[in-house]
Amino acid sequence: MKTILSAVIVLLFGLQATVAQAADAYVPKVYGKKGYVWDEMTPERVQVLKQKGDPVNGKEAFRGCQGCHKADAAGVREGVYPRLTGQHASVLIKQITEIRAGIRKNPKMLPFVQDPAISVQEIGDIAEYLSTLTSYRENGKGPEDLSAKGEKLFMTNKCYTCHGKHGEGNAEKSYPAVAAQHYGYLIREMNLIRTGVRGNSNPDMVKAIAKFKQSDMDAVADYLSRLPDYRTLH
């Protein structure tokens, strides 16, 4: 009897510990898996948004990123590394925290943004710093001008609902600015979003481009790559 009783007690304590652990540990939910919530406010993202980003610290912390995104944060023209200048801080924070959490799959970038490469404070610092940069180094564009077709697709599929009529995105809702981004990067990410490989796809966007042929994506990417940096429009 005594043995059974102690076994039950041990079991109960064990259960409690497991439940407590599950409540503590954040488990990332990736696109396509049960329970995936797009744009989920992860604990780390909430924490970063609460802090005030320091652009001076951000400039220093960004040095570890320059090997790929370049010192002016304009990335690589071929689009292997995206242009970050002018991107909304909220978007950068969303993407960095989701890569760190394992929601957005980016194995190339992961070692350079995960702990200890970058601290939680530095995420906000870097985002703040980048949003102030004004490098207008020419971005990579498509091999031929498909902007007429691209614009039509962009408008008829209402891409502007999130990304804005000038491709300026929406800082408040963490929708990325896509104007003047590298053509190669836009195509790559559209494919990764559509197939779900990116891990943090917006289901609405997956739906919006589900019927796109590759040539349609090429056209939209080309159109966006030829738009001016939205900050030059004012």
Binding site: R63, Q66, G67, C68, F112, A117
Partner: protein, 231 residues
Amino acid sequence: MKCKYNFEYMQMRALFALFGMLFMSPIYAEAMPPNAAAASEVAATPEAPAVALSPFEERLQLCAGCHNPDGNSIIPENPKLAGLDKKYIRRQLEAFKGGDRTNPTMSSIITMVDPKEFEDLADFFSKQKRTVGTSDKADLLGQGRQVFEEGVIGTGAPACMGCHGEDGSGDAKFPRLNGQNAQYVVNQLMNFKSGTRANDAKGLMRAVAKRLNEQEMAAVAEYMSTLKEAE
């Protein structure tokens, strides 16, 4: 305890003997500027010193054995210390002292150096002018330049110049690479890759080295050994 002391004592005596031999060896004398060679000969025969050396000068001779009197080591496996940032040199000395960085020679030598001496040593070598090597391996230099400026796109290895500066001059955080001995650089990259060396800031260099193969390491090391500081 007594046994340990004796062992250390013998080890130190052996090292001193080794250095005595090094200083007097023709190879060493050839490599050094004439006045420095003369100075070390003086040190090797303490019975009849022509010029009295200060404790700091004597200490410099210990370093000079492997790193050359001006900090531009001519031994390919040993790093050039000349022109490295003072804080960087200090950090490495402290890492060797504390065991965070290990090397068969340095880990022994550092037991003879008092941490109080680190500041002056770092100051001295940081103020020496870094020499730059030459190479006629055009193919290797071309590939190395690409790795230095663009990284390796396929594996996602970042470009060296992102952290170490466009001319590889480095600073307190990231060491100077221009003119550095190629073999030393390759060895360090291999050590970072395997994790044998793990005193890099935030694990950045280990993450980079994992994405470089031996060919790319050799190429970028060769290129950097010839790289000149921007005017």
